[in-house]
Symmetry: C2
Subunit: 244 residues, 2 copies
Amino acid sequence: MQDDASNHNPPELEDKSVLASICASNNTTSMTSRVYAQMKQDIISGRLEPNIKLKIESLRKEYNVGTSPIREALSLLTSDYFVERIDQRGFRVSNVSSDGFDELLRTRCWLEERALSESIARGNGQWEEKVVIANYRLSRIPRSESKNHFVANEQWEIAHKKFHMTLISECGSPFLLKFCDQLYEQNIRYRQLAGSSAYPQRDVAEEHSSICDAVLSRNKDLAARLLIDHYNKTSYFVKSELVK
Amino acid sequence: MQDDASNHNPPELEDKSVLASICASNNTTSMTSRVYAQMKQDIISGRLEPNIKLKIESLRKEYNVGTSPIREALSLLTSDYFVERIDQRGFRVSNVSSDGFDELLRTRCWLEERALSESIARGNGQWEEKVVIANYRLSRIPRSESKNHFVANEQWEIAHKKFHMTLISECGSPFLLKFCDQLYEQNIRYRQLAGSSAYPQRDVAEEHSSICDAVLSRNKDLAARLLIDHYNKTSYFVKSELVK
DNA sequence: AAAACAATAAAAACCGATATATTTAACTTT
DNA sequence: AAAGTTAAATATATCGGTTTTTATTGTTTT
């Protein structure tokens, strides 16, 4: 199965500094990939607001590219559920709704419960270590860049995703991983749109560690339950913002 | 009012009579959609063989369109796991493998088990009737067009998908439905590629009816078990062809 | 005034040509 | 001969303009 078009940084590259610099300098990614990544980010961040019309000509100017990369990127975003398309009358940013979020949460729980279960069943010692290290790294990064008011920390966002994806990485199904990935990104969008007041007062790091512990003790049911609780708690804040 | 004489009519537009009126009313499909549907079919049927390179220029000639619709269709097929893309070096048909099929089957069982369960929990009387009618219609259509040797029956294929999608239709998650749909199409591809010898000797209609009965009696566990058995049995034939 | 129609404006879809990158082949150099 | 280098051929990616379709506006008719 193919990875995300924008994802060119598998962890095993980190040690090969030579290759890294070559890739970085050549920067041989296509316009399409660049526009895709940027537009995705713009939708997730809310800069491109839900439900607005995406006019090719405007996007062309905005991203300084021709029509082809724009249209291709939009096609890809369509399959990621960030953009909707109607034949002959263009594209628009997917809408968000309270019901949509409910569905997202529900589906995420179903899929990740299974994925985590299977991952625990199949994962070996190496996987356990990856989980431990992902949890540790996440714990060292502050959730917000400011202590007083919430300012999203990009580094935390990356580490958080890494942790959750590592948990389920050994489920034995690239398909399922891809689905979970797509839903995870949808969830980030809702979190971002909900804004700063969704900043949790509770100890999220503690929740992550509990999940980690359950995983290491190979307790499938407990781990799955903790994970689902974790998602439900986080969602509570997002939802309270959304209904306003 | 400059009416040009340069009128290149695509001949494939004139062959429909019943559908023509429906299409004419509102549904004017784009080139992209048409090419997308056709290429998808060509990959599923095996006319476009697994792993072959998809050269834009060849496809252009083959489907009689410009580059834009081709590239857009390919982008869409990428998200359906039928086509793979590598930046700056084009597209190719996704490969198939025994392991890939195992993964597919596994994932399908996980997702459909959950979807069916939820559907039984949420579905109302109207849904039950839809299931009954889908099963009935399927039962009236022969699996093969010939009685002696297997000739795929397009009508059966449609009714079969309809039955299985109806079963899970009330799961309460469009996301999950979409995932199941994508996996179902992947499965059709494997079935087609496996060829005629995967023609089952067993009574498939009976299996469908058993699932139907379990659904109507709202027996989640039984229904899910029967569904998974059904998939496993069908897969046995496909797999026996695949290893050759 | 509401509906039907026509003319205009706007936007999407599409094409063909050009620019950019990759692969292949031929030709050195070690 | 293997490895490296360069040049030609091939294919991808991209652009900007043209055609087709949809949306808007204004006018006529009922």
